[in-house]
Structures are given as structure tokens and as C-alpha cells.
């Protein structure tokens, strides 16, 4: 076999035929690769970009119709005298909402709520990320508390109230504890599945490039997990917000009433229009935050190339 290979007319080959013509060397290759790159690039630029006013209108009009429909049904229910004295007309509630937004007390309460939201959510994210990373990396921990985390996630946040109340009493800390217990498991689960789903090839590539231990986690594994982790963060926000509203509703912190506490007051004092106005405020906050997460999610997906950019 070896003799066959060696008996090839090698010396002759080195002269003309196997050697490329001079024009195909350096600058030739330059032009060829540049040409191929240009041809390849064509495909990525195709796609029509819709001007933003039209895009905004497309996204808005179905929402307007939905809101209109709700108002019609609501007004209809009031006129049919369903639950008289309790159910107010949309007009009354709108007036009450306008009134509410003009009072300093309301903005003070909203500020109390926002502070708790930030503190509680940030704590849940920090704790959930630490626990999630540890559980994903240490098999014994996963076997021990992996299913506990999932179990905690299915627990309705209201049920954390007795525990939080026993520990911290009537205080902001109790509300924040409810939020952390409700939201941290969702963060942890997002981190765990994010790390589990990191393509092994990327981890291998990171190792080959010289990343070991913590640098491998920080430079490769955690960034690669980001799109999935973000899903967990979004879900955790929903849990944290539920827990916050329930906590404020149930726990009256002296001098530091939040939106949930105001809703409780409105209910006990029979200000039904104020109650509905507050519910509208809470729903709008939920929608705005969700839109924020949606934008973040799209930005990350675009960066990772997981989004069809031609529809951008």
C-alpha cells in the first residue's frame, strides 16, 4: 500500500499541474472569499421593514376594540341593575380613577408598593440565582432539593402569609418574605433549566479556549443560559407581584400602606369605585412590566440569533 502511494509521480507534480496559477494565490483568494461573503450576505438583508407608525397601529387597534367591548358589557351590566349599589358605571370609576391619580396619598402608596416590589424582586432574583446555580452544578443538591423547588413554585403565595406573619409580624419584611418565597423558586427553576440546556459543544469550545471552573461558568455557561433564565425571571415577576398584592392586602404596615392595602381599605369602607379604579391601576402596571419583559426577551433573542430578524 505504502509503495503505491510513494510511486506517484510526485516530482513532476511539483512543477506545473498541481501548483496553482500565480493569480490564484494571495490577492486572488482575497477576492474569491470577499465575493463569496458578498453573495452569502445577500440572503440576510432581504425582508421588508414596516414603518413604526403602522406597526404601532397594528398592535394597538385590537386592544382598543377589546377595551371597548369590556366597557360595553360593563355598562350593560350596570344598566341591567346587576348588583346595584356595588357595581358602578365605567364613568363613575373613571372619575374616581382621575381623582385618585390627583392625590398625593395615592402616589405615596404607589411609591411604597414600588419600593417593596424592587426590594422583594431583587432579593428573589439574587437568592434564586444562587440556589439555582448551586443545584444545577451539584448533583447531591439536585437530588435533595430539586423537586422541593418545583413544589414551592406551585404553592399559592397567599399560603406563605401565616409563615411570614409569624416571623415578621405587621411589617414590610413580612411582605418581602412572602415575595421571596413565592418568586425565588421560579428564578431558581429558570436558572436550572437554563444551565441544563446549554449546548455541550459550547462548553467544550470554552474548555478548549482555556476557560476552567468559575471562568467557564461566568464566560460560557451562564451567558449561554440567559434566554431560558429570562423566562424564569418573567415568571418570577408574576409570582412576586401576586405575593406583593396579597401581602399588602393582608398585612397593614402602619404608615406605609401600599396599593394592596389601599384596596383592602376601600373594600372595608365600601368605596367600590375606588376599589375598581385600584384594580385598573394594578392591571395596567402588570401590562407595562410584562411589555418591558417582552422587549428584553426580544432584544436577547435577537442578539442570540434566535429571532427571525426580517420581521423586526
Amino acid at each position: 500500500m505504502l509503495d503505491e502511494a510513494a510511486s506517484l509521480p510526485a516530482p513532476a507534480a511539483s512543477a506545473a499541474p498541481a501548483t496553482r496559477a500565480a493569480d490564484a494565490s494571495g490577492p486572488g483568494l482575497d477576492a474569491e472569499l470577499a465575493g463569496l461573503d458578498a453573495l452569502d450576505a445577500l440572503g440576510t438583508r432581504i425582508g421588508t421593514r414596516v414603518p413604526w407608525p403602522r406597526r404601532a397601529w397594528r398592535a394597538t387597534w385590537p386592544k382598543l376594540i377589546a377595551v371597548g367591548l369590556i366597557l360595553v358589557i360593563w355598562e350593560g351590566a350596570v344598566r341591567a341593575h346587576w348588583k346595584p349599589f356595588i357595581l358602578q358605571t365605567p364613568r363613575t370609576v373613571a372619575a374616581q380613577l382621575g381623582e385618585l391619580l390627583r392625590t398625593a396619598v395615592f402616589w405615596n402608596e404607589a411609591w411604597n408598593t414600588a419600593q417593596r416590589a424592587l426590594v422583594g424582586y431583587a432579593l428573589a432574583v439574587v437568592i434564586g440565582t444562587a440556589v439555582g446555580t448551586a443545584v444545577a452544578r451539584i448533583p447531591m443538591l439536585r437530588a435533595g432539593i430539586g423537586s422541593l423547588i418545583t413544589g414551592m413554585q406551585t404553592m399559592p403565595s397567599v399560603l406563605w402569609f401565616p409563615l411570614a406573619y409569624m416571623v415578621f409580624g405587621d411589617s414590610s419584611s413580612a411582605i418581602v418574605l412572602m415575595m421571596v418565597l413565592g418568586a425565588a423558586p421560579a428564578v431558581a427553576n429558570g436558572v436550572i433549566s437554563g444551565i441544563d440546556q446549554v449546548p455541550p459543544l459550547l462548553v467544550r469550545a470554552g474548555r478548549v479556549l482555556g476557560a476552567r471552573g468559575w471562568s467557564l461558568q461566568r464566560r460560557v455557561v451562564l451567558p449561554a443560559a440567559v434566554p431560558t433564565v429570562l423566562g424564569g425571571l418573567k415568571q418570577a415577576w408574576a409570582f412576586a407581584w401576586h405575593a406583593l398584592m396579597a401581602g399588602e392586602f393582608l398585612i397593614q404596615v402602619g404608615g406605609q400602606v401600599g396599593l394592596g392595602g389601599r384596596a383592602d381599605n376601600a373594600l372595608t369602607q365600601g368605596y367600590y369605585a375606588t376599589l375598581v379604579a385600584l384594580m385598573i391601576v394594578i392591571v395596567v402596571i402588570g401590562i407595562v412590566v410584562d411589555m418591558g419583559f417582552g422587549r428584553l426577551d426580544r432584544a436577547v433573542r435577537r442578539r442570540f440569533g434566535l429571532l427571525d430578524t426580517s420581521r423586526g
Partner: protein, 268 residues
């Protein structure tokens, strides 16, 4: 076996800029067994192979010849069950069939990553990455994301990233296997030029016998299950070569015949 006169195949070492010296690779009686007892599998058995510093060796074999296992051993990602593997003390860089670029980093940041991991400062990092991208003719693409590039461009970024490690030994695991033929031929030229400039040692795994004849100083044919060295063919054709030249075709035919007879042994 009478070898024809050796043909000077690339730039002499003195013309190269000073870099990490290219190490040789020595495998001596290497075996790798996965699992234990009756269910265990011998991926590699009794592999002895010497690659000279700066040599370009292509490993060819059918499925199950343990090529990837062999590369993992040389890269130090895995240890042999028996035998010894020596591949110098310096860093080893590796290219896979997929470019394995990090999608959250720009093209330039991908190339910078091995430098960052070595603790190189930001200014120098940027300069080196820009040079390397220029070198693989992607100077204008540093700000892009990997997904915005074609397959061939991505593999060139991966090549630049591997070069940023400044390793004397480059391991390549079917790096052009997923590319179209036109792009692949151009990347052969590109790789050959880089190798001639920098003089690193290359261990190149491929299924494609012509590709091996196009690129290698030597073709090593591996058997399958377990992987052993079946034959070794020196490639004495001058460089640069053309993959469609009759000499490459002749050599490829010889190697393919032997490869097929190896494959036939497994028909039962």
C-alpha cells in the same frame, strides 16, 4: 519503499514571526476504553504515532475509528487507558465541525475571548482580534453577531479565535465537513496559507480522502472498532495544491481502496 526526493513544501522556519514554538506529538501504545467489563468498548487500541513539529498530518478513517477520541486525548481533555500521549506543554487549540461561536458575543469579542481568559488587557486584545479578523479577511465584520454570518464566515471566525490562543498545535475535527464545496476549497487555501505563515503543527481529522491529500504532509489511515493505525502515506506533492488535480485524485484513489478494504472487514 523508495521515496521520491522531498519537495520543499513551505516557508522555512526562519521566515516565520516568533510565536509559541510548534510542538511535536507523540503517541505511544495508546489505548482508550470506555465503560468496563463486557459492555466496555475499545475506542482506540495500540496507537503509536509521531507528528513532527510543524507537520500537517491528516487522519482519515470510517465511522467508529475513534478520531474524535484521539483528538480529545491530544488536547488533554481526556486521558488514555493505556499508553502515553505527549503534545508539548503549551496551549492546544481545536476546531470542530460546527464553528461553536458564542452567540451572545460579537464576532470580535469571540476572537478576544481566549485572550481575555489569559488576562490580556483590553487594548491589546482589541488590536490582536482586529489583526486576526483582518487575516481571515473578515476585517469589516467584527461588530456583527455570529448568526449574521454565513457558515464559511463563521468557520473563519472560529479559525481566528483558535489562532488567538497562539497555540503551537492546532487540532481540527472535520472543520469543513458542513460547508459547501466552493467555500471548502477556498478555506483549504486559507488554512494552508496560515499554516505556512505561522508554522504550527496540525492534526486534521476528516472523512474526505481528497481533502486529506489536498492538505496533509502525511495521511494516516485509521481502522475502526477499535481504532488502530492501518497505514501512513507521505504526500510529496508541492504546495499550493489543487484538490481537482490528477495527482491528488490518484493518491486519494489509493487511500480510498485501502479504506474500503478496511471497511469490508466489518461486513459480517
Amino acid at each position: 519503499m523508495s521515496l521520491p526526493e522531498p519537495v520543499p513544501s513551505r516557508v522555512p522556519p526562519t521566515d516565520r514571526p516568533s510565536r509559541t514554538p510548534a510542538p511535536g506529538v507523540h503517541l505511544d501504545g495508546v489505548g482508550r476504553r470506555f465503560g468496563s467489563g463486557d459492555t466496555g468498548v475499545n475506542a482506540l487500541a495500540d496507537i503509536s504515532l509521531t507528528v513532527a513539529p510543524g507537520e500537517f498530518v491528516c487522519l482519515v478513517g470510517a465511522s467508529g475509528c475513534g478520531k474524535s477520541t484521539l483528538l480529545a486525548l491530544v488536547a488533554g481533555l481526556d486521558r488514555p487507558t493505556v499508553g502515553t500521549v505527549e503534545a508539548g506543554d503549551g496551549p492546544v487549540s481545536m476546531l470542530f465541525q460546527e464553528p461553536a461561536l458564542f452567540p451572545w458575543l460579537t464576532v470580535a469579542a469571540n476572537v478576544e475571548l481566549p485572550l481575555r481568559l489569559r488576562g490580556v488587557g483590553a487594548v491589546e486584545r482589541r488590536a490582536v482580534a482586529a489583526d486576526l479578523l483582518e487575516r481571515v479577511r473578515l476585517g469589516g465584520s467584527g461588530h456583527k453577531r455570529p448568526h449574521e454570518l454565513s457558515g464559511g464566515m463563521r468557520q473563519r471566525v472560529a479559525l481566528a479565535r483558535a489562532l488567538a490562543q497562539d497555540a503551537g498545535l492546532l487540532l481540527m475535527d472535520e472543520p469543513f465537513g458542513a460547508l459547501d464545496a466552493i467555500t471548502r476549497d477556498l478555506l483549504h487555501d486559507e488554512l494552508e496559507q496560515l499554516w505556512a505563515e505561522r508554522g504550527f503543527t496540525v492534526l486534521f481529522v476528516t472523512h474526505n480522502v481528497r481533502e486529506a491529500a489536498r492538505l496533509g504532509d502525511r495521511i494516516v489511515l485509521l481502522t475502526s472498532r477499535p481504532g488502530r493505525v492501518a497505514a501512513s502515506y507521505p504526500v510529496t506533492l508541492g504546495r499550493p495544491r489543487r484538490i481537482d488535480s490528477p495527482e491528488i485524485a490518484d493518491l486519494a484513489a489509493t487511500v480510498t481502496d485501502q479504506l474500503r478494504s478496511e471497511v469490508r472487514r466489518h461486513a459480517r
